[in-house]
Symmetry: C2
Subunit: 332 residues, 2 copies
């Protein structure tokens, strides 16, 4: 008898969706192979084995099953979503010149930037093949739009992140691009493939969109208040990398002339000394922007729960509702 107490919603979801996740993992292993270019499975295995919570594919599987889908294509779509996510990570690590991801050296460090760029392209192409197999043009439309939004958001971030004029509206657009677009596409296609009524599909989209925004805001918050042992990130990484995220945007908005000069020097010009992070944290504390950011995240999680609450109750729906709470509980 299994006596483990499974309390976290993403673990309950993984348990509930175990057969589908197994099928998806088998499909992923099959499709990330390459007869002729062994470098491809080397790189992808490194990343896929590192784990991650398979959150995005679980959103697709959960949405489809919640809507009563009994065909085979939610497996394809879950693998599609995971491939797009993995490809994005590979390219992000090149763009950010990262050395670590999920506590392991990144692919660009282990192999080279070339491999990360090209294997990412391979996974994009593979994801595209997987979704074409579903034969649903609407699914293809949703996922191709998501892919464009993701890339546009990433480019926007390149220019917006170090620009002090970036306000909460621009921040939200970046967040939708880098995170929420794939969450909302993941849930929406689950409903579409199940042939759900439009109102349900719309509710699934809203749930994914709001959940993704909450998720990213929490990520950005943890960067300033997190426990580096738990998050695998160092406090202040975003500050050092000159990424303008919500806690700082809220502080910049209320900054005195002197404080503004500090942000211009450290974020826009990137002239930082060792004591600057401490001063930045004191400015966030002065305006209590971590609490305000936390409140925003809770607001988005609540909206996610409300959206899903309009769908017929069942165990998967209820676990997904709990997941929205869990995403913001990571803050504590």
């Amino acid at each position: 008898m299994d006596t483990r107490v499974i309390s976290k919603p993403h673990e309950r979801l993984a348990e509930r969706l175990a057969p589908e996740l197994d099928a998806m993992n088998a499909l992923i292993r099959e499709r990330m192979a390459s007869e002729h270019a062994p470098r491809i499975p080397e790189v992808t295995r490194h990343l896929v084995d590192a784990g991650g919570k398979r959150l995005r594919p679980m959103l697709t599987l959960g949405s489809a099953i919640m809507c009563g889908y009994d065909g085979p294509f939610h497996i394809n779509l879950a693998a599609t979503v995971e491939f797009i996510h993995t490809a994005t990570l590979l390219h992000d690590d090149v763009v950010d010149e990262s050395g670590q991801r999920r506590g392991r050296p990144t692919a660009n460090l282990l192999w080279d930037n070339k491999s990360s760029v090209l294997v990412g392209d391979y996974l994009f192409a593979r994801s595209f093949q997987l979704m074409v197999e579903t034969g649903s043009l609407r699914v293809l439309d949703i996922l191709s739009n998501a892919a464009a939004t993701i890339a546009e958001g990433e480019v926007l971030q390149l220019t917006a992140a170090q620009n002090l004029a970036t306000d909460e509206e621009v921040y939200l657009r970046v967040v939708r691009g880098k995170t929420a677009a794939l969450f909302s596409a993941a849930t929406e296609v689950g409903g579409v493939i199940a042939g759900s009524p439009e109102a349900h599909v719309k509710a699934l989209f809203d749930y994914g969109d709001c959940l993704g925004i909450a998720f990213q805001i929490v990520d950005d918050l943890l960067d300033y208040q997190g426990d580096s042992a738990a998050t695998g990130k160092n406090v202040g990484d975003d500050f050092r990398e000159r990424k303008l995220t919500l806690p700082v945007i809220k502080a910049v908005k209320q900054a005195t002339a002197e404080e503004r000069a500090f942000w211009i020097r450290t974020i826009e010009k990137g002239q930082q000394s060792d004591s600057d992070l401490e001063h930045a944290l004191s400015l966030l504390a002065k305006y209590d922007t971590l609490a305000a950011t936390r409140a925003d995240a809770i607001g988005w999680a609540d909206r996610a729960k409300t959206a899903l609450g309009t769908l017929p109750a069942n165990d998967v729906r209820d676990t997904l509702i709990d997941l929205a709470d869990y995403v913001v509980e990571r803050i504590n």
Copy 2:
């Protein structure tokens, strides 16, 4: 009256397809825009304006028109093919650390590698949206397979290019990936969108495949015997970049032990001094591999012409047949 003598087949093709190319250029300008991330059109405009011959989209437009297509979607597909090509160039320049393309500084030099990676991703996503609009699952299948073959070929090249065990079979696989897969997809989708009989679609695929292989072999040949003023490349770039291409593969196959040691040192180990290129050229001359490579290119061009010769004669078909000759005439 226009009194210019238009003799080159790609120029005759551009003249014949002028209205379609105009429509495609308008579509490209529309779709490479980004309301929120102005960096995107900056980068793409730099590359798209630099020109190139629009060879790949002309293959799609020509194939569709030759097959009697009178709908709107060949314009989408031509733009799709050009976007995939442009995205590939952006990523290639990052991978090759190139500083020049078509006689202009590359995007990665003008902006940064980050922009090249992410704008490339954006163009891939946009190309995907464009083809989804055609509503043809078969077209989507062909182009998603081509995208996977392209990426796989590029990764294969990473490992195969500097490995002296790379033989003509592996070389051909790399060439299909990096060049011929997009040529053959470009011609095949033209036939598919026109609803042509299977035999015609197959002939169009073969034409594109053989033309692409001939094109790439000629490119690799010109690297060793070209006039740098005409090609915009320096003689021996591939040698210096340690890329094992057909002229060298043919020389390695016949190498004495001493010659083999030379190739191992210069290509596999990358230990090159100033006089090595001259010695490499003397080895190519010793085995007459440039002539043998040229003969291979002509053979592929002939196969391309034979394939297209099975289709009903018309002016576009005949220009495409001439194009196959022109591709190898670049050698002279």
